[in-house]
C-alpha cells in the first residue's frame, strides 16, 4: 500500500495543475523514529502547515511507522484539507525531494524538508536549496550527526530542532537563506589537488 500511495501522490502532483506547496517529512529507511512521526502525524501539525500555505504533505515513515501512518490517513479530519501521501521505502527519494523545489511553470512553490539527521538526506536537501528542518534522533547515540546538524544551523543552512518544537521551527526555516548550493560554479579545488598529485606539467 505504501508504494501505491506514493506514486499516486506524485501523479496528483505532476498532472493536476494546482498550486502546490509540499512539506516532505522523512525519518529514513533504516532506523525507526516514532517520536517524530507521532509529532507530525497530528491535526495540530497539519494545521500549522496550512497556516503557512502548504497544500501537500508527504511522509516517509520508514520500517516502523506503518500503523501510525494508516491511523492518520483514516482520520480525515486531522488532515486539515492537505493532500496526504506516504511510503515506507524507495530505492531513491530524490524524485520526492525534487517536488519541494520551486517551479513557477508548474505552479509549484518552494516547499520544506523535515528529516532525521542522516547525512545523505541533508546533503541531497542542501543541493536542492530547499528550507530544511533537521531533527536529530535523541535515541540514537550518533555524536557526529548531532555535530553536523549544529554546525549547519550555526551557518544558517538548516534549522536544527527538537522533536517537540518541529512545528514552531517552520517559520524560522522559511526565513533562512536557502541558497541554491547546487548551482555553485564548478569546483576547481579537487581538480587542482588531483592534478598536483599526478604531476601534470603546467
Amino acid at each position: 500500500m505504501g508504494d501505491n500511495w506514493a506514486f499516486h501522490f506524485i501523479q496528483i502532483v505532476s498532472f493536476n495543475s494546482v498550486l502546490m506547496k509540499l512539506c516532505f517529512v522523512t525519518v529514513g529507511a533504516t532506523a525507526a523514529f516514532r517520536k517524530l512521526l507521532e509529532q507530525v502525524l497530528t491535526s495540530k501539525f497539519t494545521k500549522t502547515l496550512t497556516e503557512h500555505g502548504y497544500t501537500h504533505f508527504l511522509v516517509q515513515y520508514g520500517k516502523d511507522g506503518q500503523d501510525l501512518y494508516d491511523k492518520f490517513v483514516a482520520d480525515e479530519e486531522a488532515h486539515n484539507g492537505l493532500t496526504i501521501g506516504g511510503f515506507d521505502f524507495q530505492p531513491s527519494i530524490d524524485s520526492f525531494l525534487l517536488q519541494t523545489v520551486e517551479r513557477k511553470v508548474y505552479d509549484r512553490e518552494r516547499g520544506l524538508i523535515i528529516c532525521h539527521a542522516g547525512t545523505g538526506t541533508i546533503l541531497a536537501g542542501l543541493r536542492l536549496g530547499v528550507p530544511m528542518i533537521v531533527v536529530p534522533n535523541p535515541d540514537l547515540a550518533d555524536n557526529h550527526q548531532q555535530e553536523l546538524a549544529d554546525v549547519l544551523e550555526e551557518d544558517k543552512y538548516v534549522v536544527s530542532s527538537s522533536v517537540e518544537n518541529v512545528g514552531s521551527a517552520i517559520r524560522l526555516a522559511e526565513s533562512q537563506k536557502a541558497e541554491v548550493l547546487s548551482s555553485r560554479a564548478k569546483d576547481e579545488n579537487l581538480t587542482k589537488n588531483l592534478s598536483d598529485e599526478m604531476g601534470f606539467l603546467d
Binding site: 546533503l123 557526529h144 599526478m198 601534470f200
Partner: protein, 273 residues
C-alpha cells in the same frame, strides 16, 4: 657440573636471540617510520605531459560514501580527456555502488567523450574486509584476503580488469578514496608496492644500471567525509600516516597529522556541494 654448563650456554643463547629479535624489530619499525615519512614528504615532480594515457582508481564504499564520491566527481566535472581510464573498486555484494559507477560513466562521462562507445572504464569487485556482524576473530583473515586481492588489482592481475594496450604499466597513476574499510587495504597495498619499486630503483642505481626517470605511480588522495565536522573517521585515522594527500571539508579538521614530521591534512572546502 655438566648440566649447569649446558644451562649457562642455553641461557646465553636465549639472551642473544632476544637481543637480536628486539634489535631487528626496532630496525624494521625504524625503516617503516622512515619510509613513511620520506614517502609523505616527497614532492611530486611536474613531469607528466597533459594528454598522456592515465589511469585513475576510485575506491567506492557503502551507500553514503559512494553517494559523496559521485557528488564530488560530478562537481569537479571529472574530465575523461585527462583521466583517460577509470577503474572503480567495489566490495562484493555492493550492487548500489556498482550501479552508481555505471550510471555516472553512462551519463556524465559519455556526454563529455567523443567516442561512441564508452569502454574506458571497468568495475572491479573485491571481497569485503569485514562483513557487517562478522566476528572480530575471523575479521583479520578476511581483511588479509581483501588485502591480497587489492594487491592483485593494483598489479593489474584481477580478471575483471581490461586495461587498453597503450598502457605499459599495470599500476594506476592515482588512487582516490573517501573512506570505506577497503580503502585502507588498497592504500596499504599501494604503499608496499611503492616501497618495493623504490628498492628496485635503488638497487639498479647501486649496480650502476641506467634508471629512466618515470612518472609518479600509485599516488593516493583521501577525502574525509563531509559529515565529519570535528573528528576523523576510523578510516581517516588509519590512513592519516599513509596517504599522500589528505583533504578535509571543515576548517576544524585542517592541520592534523599522524605524528611529528608527517604531512598535515589540508582544508579544501566543501567538495560535495
Amino acid at each position: 657440573m655438566h648440566l649447569s654448563f649446558s644451562l649457562t650456554v642455553s641461557w646465553d643463547f636465549v639472551l642473544t636471540c632476544c637481543i637480536l629479535a628486539i634489535v631487528l624489530a626496532v630496525l624494521i619499525l625504524f625503516i617503516i617510520l622512515l619510509s613513511l615519512a620520506i614517502s609523505q614528504n616527497t614532492i611530486v615532480p611536474k613531469c607528466r605531459p597533459k594528454g598522456s594515457p592515465t589511469h585513475l582508481l576510485v575506491v567506492l564504499g557503502s551507500g553514503g560514501h559512494t553517494a559523496e564520491m559521485f557528488y564530488m566527481l560530478d562537481r569537479m566535472e571529472l574530465d575523461p580527456h585527462i583521466y583517460t581510464y577509470r577503474t572503480y573498486l567495489v566490495s562484493s555484494g555492493d550492487d548500489f555502488s556498482a550501479g552508481k559507477a555505471k550510471e555516472f560513466e553512462d551519463q556524465h562521462v559519455q556526454k563529455l567523450q567523443s567516442h561512441t562507445e564508452n569502454d574506458r572504464y571497468s568495475i572491479v569487485t573485491v571481497p569485503r574486509a569485514r562483513r557487517v556482524h562478522q566476528s572480530y576473530l575471523t575479521a583479520p583473515f578476511s581483511t588479509l584476503q581483501c588485502f591480497w586481492v587489492c594487491l592483485c588489482v593494483l598489479r593489474g592481475l584481477h580478471p575483471d580488469q581490461k586495461l587498453p594496450e597503450e598502457y605499459t604499466s599495470p599500476y594506476p597513476d592515482l588512487i582516490l578514496t573517501n573512506g570505506p574499510a577497503t580503502a585502507v587495504c588498497v592504500v596499504a597495498a599501494a604503499k608496499i608496492i611503492r616501497f618495493f619499486l623504490c628498492l628496485n630503483r635503488l638497487g639498479a642505481l647501486c649496480l650502476g644500471l641506467q634508471v629512466n626517470s618515470t612518472v609518479p605511480k600509485l599516488r593516493t588522495v583521501y577525502v574525509e567525509s563531509w559529515a565529519r565536522v570535528n573528528s576523523l573517521s576510523v578510516s581517516g585515522v588509519l590512513l592519516l600516516p599513509l596517504v599522500d594527500r589528505f583533504l578535509v571539508q571543515w576548517p576544524a579538521q585542517a592541520g592534523r597529522r599522524a605524528w611529528w614530521g608527517m604531512k598535515r591534512t589540508q582544508y579544501a572546502g566543501w567538495l560535495v556541494i
